[in-house]
Structures are given as structure tokens and as C-alpha cells.
Symmetry: C2
Subunit: 190 residues, 2 copies
Amino acid sequence: MSTLWSRSRQAAITEVIAVAMDLFLDKGFEATTFDDIAAAAGISRRSLFRYFGTKEDIVLFHMADEGPRAAAALAARPDDEPVWTALLAILKQIENETGDPARLLKISEMMYGTPSLRARSLEKHLQWQSDLLPEVKRRLATEADLPAIAIIASAVACLDAAGEQWTRARGAIPLADLLEEAFTAVREAR
Amino acid sequence: MSTLWSRSRQAAITEVIAVAMDLFLDKGFEATTFDDIAAAAGISRRSLFRYFGTKEDIVLFHMADEGPRAAAALAARPDDEPVWTALLAILKQIENETGDPARLLKISEMMYGTPSLRARSLEKHLQWQSDLLPEVKRRLATEADLPAIAIIASAVACLDAAGEQWTRARGAIPLADLLEEAFTAVREAR
DNA sequence: GGCCTGTCTGGCACTAAGTGTCAATCAGGC
DNA sequence: GCCTGATTGACACTTAGTGCCAGACAGGCC
């Protein structure tokens, strides 16, 4: 638990991600190899594999802690707020990304345009099911897992659909609006 | 369009899938290599790659045409049936798998237990969004894509969640019941 | 029957992902 | 300054996946 070490490791990871992202956006995700990234980052291929097991992990690194963050945000919502409303609220909040919008758009285009990345992103969202499960069950006041999981999975599906539309619209429509539209459509579906 | 050839190719594919599945269920999916499958099927590795680009494709081969089939089934539902109800009906119908239940359960366990397989399965389900989009839009009487996509994505998410619970319960509860429970939970969520 | 043509096959070679091993190195505690 | 534990980079190896090419093979045509 060496704090200095953790900090320099963290710095190294951040640095590698920045370098790799530049390469991905420049040459394309699939066309960029681990060797390219390692060379550009000035570390050995083997060490790069120790930081990130796959290329997808580099792109999705920042998504790793979103599940627990979402769970915390959900627990912080008022107790009497209906689940679906609360989920919409926290997704709007979590996905309120910061940083250069143009770059974010290019990354999104890469994500939705690269099958392996898209798949990994779906997997990460899958993880949210277990992260959010306890709190959603509490709000539903039920013992059964399935209703809670179905609701979480649907909410995440809405997030994914809204994200794709946001990308298609080249960021012209705020994600929060699209999210609201998606949530409303599902809520009113019969 | 040589019919004789199509038939023998189809037979070869069916044969390879059967052989590969036995290996997967015996040794595990990840532990089985293309070389193993090619040897067991009596064809060259190179030819095997021509039939199936990836190991995942072998397992998910039968899922390939489910999207269009679902679209056709949806179009066949009564016009005045609400979308969510119609979607539930066709999913019950489509997923009414035939064959040895014990084997099906083992395959499901492999699917939900192998990340790369799970990811590919999610990708396949993603494809349903475009397959079902026209018919769902027609039923919603809307021009906008997002509401329809959100509803389809949620329905598929319910299918996935129900499938996972079915597997967890070792097939004890009929998938149709779980599907109904999931759809109801989402419909009633506020 | 023999030939032509297009397709399928298998073998070879190659790139790239991903993993195990091991010696060298580096940072911090004593 | 030395010891110890973790990190690193180099090497070797397996596996996925692809390009290329020569040979087999089936059907159509003369």
C-alpha cells in the first residue's frame, strides 16, 4: 500500500490511456496494435499487458467504477422517489461527462462503430446489474431478483440506446433529453 | 446457387457444430481450440475458419436468423395489440427452444459463464434492434427511432435477464413465466 | 469422354493477442 | 549501505485469425 507507488502507477496509467487514445483516434482502434501503444508510451509490450489485459480495457478504463458510483448515487435519492424516476435521475447525472466535447464524440463514434468495443461496453453495463441490485430491491420492497434486474437492465438499455442516438446526431441533442425520451417511451409502453 | 452443394455445406456445418458442442461441453469453451475442433471434425483448421470466423460463431450459429424471425412473428400479431404485449408474446414463442433440456441448460450455463460468449450473444441481440425497428415504429405510429429502439432494447434486456434467471434456477422455472415476470416488472415501474 | 471454369479445400506463412517464466532492477525499510 | 518485495522488460510460447496459392472437384459445354 505504498502511496507514492500508487500515485506513480496511476500517473502511468493515465499517461498510457492518453497516448493510446490519440493513436486510436488517429489510426483507428483495430489498426492500432499493442506494440504501437507500448512504443508510443515508452514501455515494454509485456508491461502494457500488465496494466491493461486488452485494448478494450484501455478505452473503457474510466467506466470501471461507474457501477458503484451509480449505486451510491441511487442510494442518495429520496426514499419515496419511484425507482424508474430515480434511475433516470442518476443516469443523467453519471453520464454528464466532462472534457472536450468533440473528442468525446469521436470516442463515442469509435465505441459504437467497433463491435468488440461495443460488446465490452455492454458487458461493463451488465456489471451494473449486480451493483444496483440491492438498492433497487430495497426500493421495490421485494425479495425476488428478477423484477429488479429486469428494471435495471431496461434502464441501462435505454442509456445505451440514448447514447447511440446522441452519437448519430453528432452530439447535437443533449444526452439527458434523449435519455428522458427513452425512459418515457418504455414507461408508457403497453 | 448449387442446391446440392448448399445441402452438403449445410450438413457439414451442422456436423461441425455438433462435434464442437460436444468438445465445448466436455472440456469447456475456452479450453477447446480451433485445432481440437478441426481434428475432431476431420477438416483442416483453415476450412473451419471459413465456416465459422470465431469459436463464438459456432455456439451462436442458430441465433443468426432469430432477429428476422422475430420481426416476422411481430408483424403477424394483431394490429391492435399493444407493442409491449406483442413483444412479450413473440419472445415467448421464439425462445421456445426444442431439443434435449439438460443439454440446453448446459449450453446456457456455458453462455452465461463465458464472458466472450455472453458478449457476442448481447451483440446478436443488439442486431434485433434494427430487425424489429420498422414494425415497432409502425405500431407506435411515430417517426422517431429512439422510442422504438428503447422499447426493443428493454424487451431484449428482459429476455436476457429472464434467461439468466432460468439458468440460475437450473431450468426449474419455465422461461415463459420468468419472461412474463420481467416484462410486468418493467411495465409497472414508475 | 474430354475440357473449362468457378468454387472449395488444405497447407504454409504471417501478424497480433495474450500468458508464463525469469533475471535484472528499483524503492523503501532497517 | 543492505535486505526484501514488487515491478519491469526480455524471451518464448500458444492460440486466434488472415492472405495466398496450388491442387481437387463438380457441373456445364463441346
